[in-house]
């Protein structure tokens, strides 16, 4: 029997080679109906797991690029339900790679934890990551995800002490997202990534995805043997905000993958 997280683990196999690229898309950016196209474009470029952000009015972990994209998406009427619909649409058009929804606690709580997880699975979502839900408060979402068959991803930071790293690894049925430096998404070198990855690796057999501040192919290559996946957010969102978003997203992902 398959369990939550199988697809994610299969898409991010551990190896000494370079990590797989995990592009991030802001749902509803640049248009409410654009995300299904962009999901397929990100897969075509070589994305191994795609993160889909559901916009929130107060995204505490995000920098200016993703904040602005979320604000625009909300102003154009994006909602949690419409975001899930976009994933479902991409699935019906043949999207195969795992999708992890990344959003904040309040939109999920207002949707209802159980209802959200059920709706996400029905839409073809594989996992969920909630950056402002600390490990100590994860019981409710943990139960809801496991009942729905959704993988729970957890987050660790360079400031996380060893005991909490172990807790994060235990909690995760999907990947462990390693934050590359103190800070928010976007600009800023991922200076503390390697050290953190080594510390988590010693404690966990979960796939490790490094994120925050990664925007170049050379950074992806430099993480070979350390990370299983590399999340790239702001750079992809910038591409989605330009002309011909689908082609731009596909090309940026392909470049990051070295294709």
């Amino acid at each position: 029997m398959s369990s939550a997280g199988d697809a994610i683990r299969a898409a991010l196999p551990s190896s000494d080679g370079e990590p797989r690229v995990c592009p991030y898309l802001m749902a509803g950016f640049p248009e409410p109906g654009a995300t299904a196209d962009l999901l397929l474009a990100a897969e075509a470029g070589g994305g191994a797991v795609i993160e889909v952000g559901i916009p929130h009015s107060d995204p505490l972990a995000d920098g200016p690029t993703i904040q602005a994209a979320g604000r625009l998406a909300l102003s154009r009427g994006m909602t949690s339900r419409l975001a899930l619909n976009q994933v479902a649409q991409a699935r019906s058009r043949g999207l195969r790679v795992p999708v992890v929804v990344m959003t904040y606690l309040n939109p999920v709580a207002q949707f209802g934890l159980e209802e959200f997880c059920q709706a996400a699975v029905a839409a073809g979502v594989d996992g969920v990551l909630v950056p402002d839900l600390p490990l100590e408060e994860m019981d409710g979402l943990g139960r809801a995800t496991s009942r729905a068959g959704l993988a729970l991803c957890t987050m660790v930071a360079p400031t996380t002490p060893e005991a909490r790293l172990a807790l994060a690894a235990t909690r995760a049925s999907g990947f462990v997202y390693c934050v590359s430096r103190t800070g928010v998404t976007g600009a800023g070198e991922p200076t503390e990534g390697a050290g953190l990855l080594e510390r988590v690796r010693a404690l966990s057999d979960r796939p490790l995805v490094l994120g925050f501040g990664v925007r170049l192919r050379s950074q992806v290559v430099s993480l070979a043997g350390l990370a299983d996946g590399v999340a790239v957010g702001s750079r992809i969102v910038e591409a989605a905000g330009g002309d011909a978003p689908a082609a731009a997203v596909r090309d940026v992902v392909a470049e990051l993958c070295g294709r």
Binding site: H56, A61, T79, D132, A157, T182
Partner: protein, 398 residues
């Protein structure tokens, strides 16, 4: 009374919970820092040397105790005795300095050399910048562009004091956006920076810590009522944005179950979405800025814009302890609108010779609407209104 009132030091609530409210919902990067802060605060608040330094600054620098004033002409108007707790006379003109001094002493003790704060009306930013100047610490204050326009004098004061004031967001940005940005700055610089939140909001341990530091207001006011009025008040009234002056004065009266506690939110222009700041009266439970409380949000969990004539009440959330005091019916909450606050602003000025902050004017307005017969009303006059003159004059010429 001699010397400042004592802090009401309680154990931090387990997991930061006030009933079903509170908690700590923040990105992992700052979770260890919050745990460290709780431990450090518990230690400091049981250390006689720390407390002596705090009380020393409160007395010799900030000007505590602040007076309790029997407002005779307002009493005539109310039909019952009205007493004003004069936090407007505290150095920098509002109760905010109690919290800023306490948190800065704590930050120094923790070895943090840089301070970040958010501000709405500018009073918390000003108090923090002032305390940073006094204690020789680096200070960054985030402020919404709309608030910088409304409170230009406070911006100038903060800069004179050596703080860096960072404008936030689009031209309509206010306290909510400034708070989000201050938290992001803290997430980025958490190793050497302490975040001085300005109200009883945010992730645990802040609601507890700020309440403890502001409880000096209530313990003073309670003792002064007994000394000067010869009895406890029948009602205690305070304005509620995030709710720090209200929690500060309520804290001392919580065990006195015969004393009614009344919080006053911003009714703004009316009850329609976006036109007020009445999180308790018109909001629903949700998570904003790291804690679960009543917030103003749409059905999708997106936080709504707010409005109040008073920048300090222009906030879509409220402290989790207030949410619990409402749920348990220990306190009640009402909202008064811009016009009613303005009317109370003028009455207090003309009848008592005290120009109150627009925040505090909401509390006076509520006091004047209580039934005319009854025991004494204690109002927390949380700040002075110099900062609001331009707003008041502009509103009236519009």
């Amino acid at each position: 009374m001699n010397g400042p009132g004592r802090l009401i030091v309680t154990a931090p609530p387990p997991r930061g919970r006030y009933g079903e409210f509170g908690g700590s919902f923040v990105p992992e990067t700052v979770v260890p820092a919050l745990q460290e802060l709780e431990t450090a605060a518990v230690e400091a608040l049981s250390d006689p040397l720390f407390l002596a330094e705090f009380y020393g600054l409160e007395a010799g620098y900030a000007g505590r105790p602040t007076p309790l004033h029997h407002a005779r002409r307002l009493s005539e108007r109310a039909g019952r005795p009205v007493w004003l707790k004069r936090e407007d006379l505290l150095h920098t003109g509002a109760h905010k300095l109690n919290n800023a001094l306490g948190q800065l002493l704590l930050a120094k003790r923790m070895g943090k050399h840089r301070i970040v704060a958010e501000t709405g009306a500018g009073q918390h930013g000003l108090a923090t910048a002032t305390a940073c100047a006094l204690l020789g610490m680096e200070c960054v204050v985030y402020m919404g562009r709309e608030d910088m326009r409304r409170q230009a004098v406070n911006v100038a004061k903060m800069e004179l004091l050596g703080a860096r004031v960072e404008p936030v967001g689009d031209p309509a940005a206010t306290l909510k956006d400034a708070t989000s940005e201050a938290i992001r700055y803290w997430v980025t610089n958490v190793r050497d920076t302490h975040y001085v939140i300005g109200s009883v909001v945010g992730p645990h341990p802040y609601p507890w810590l700020v309440r403890t530091l502001q409880s000096v207001i209530g313990s003073e006011a309670r003792a002064q009522m007994l000394e000067l009025a010869g009895r406890l008040p029948e009602v205690v009234v305070a304005s509620v944005g995030g709710g720090s002056n209200a929690i500060g004065i309520f804290a001392a009266f919580l065990p006195d179950t015969e004393v009614q506690l009344l919080g006053v939110e911003a009714g703004g222009r009316g009850p329609q979405p976006g036109a007020h700041g009445a999180s308790l009266g018109l909001g629903t439970p949700g998570v904003l800025h790291g804690s679960r409380s009543y917030i103003l949000q749409d059905p999708d969990g997106q936080v709504l814009p707010t409005h109040s004539i008073s920048a300090g009440l222009d906030y879509p959330g409220v402290g989790p302890e207030h949410a619990n005091l409402m749920a348990t019916r220990r306190a009640s909450y009402t909202a008064l609108d811009d016009r009613q606050a303005l009317e109370a602003f003028h009455l207090t000025t003309r009848l008592e010779g005290i120009i109150p902050a627009l925040e505090s004017s909401h509390a006076v307005a509520a006091a004047l609407r209580l039934p005319a017969a009854g025991g004494p009303i204690l109002v927390c006059l949380s700040g002075r209104g110099d900062k609001d003159l331009e707003t008041v004059l502009g509103w009236e010429s519009a």
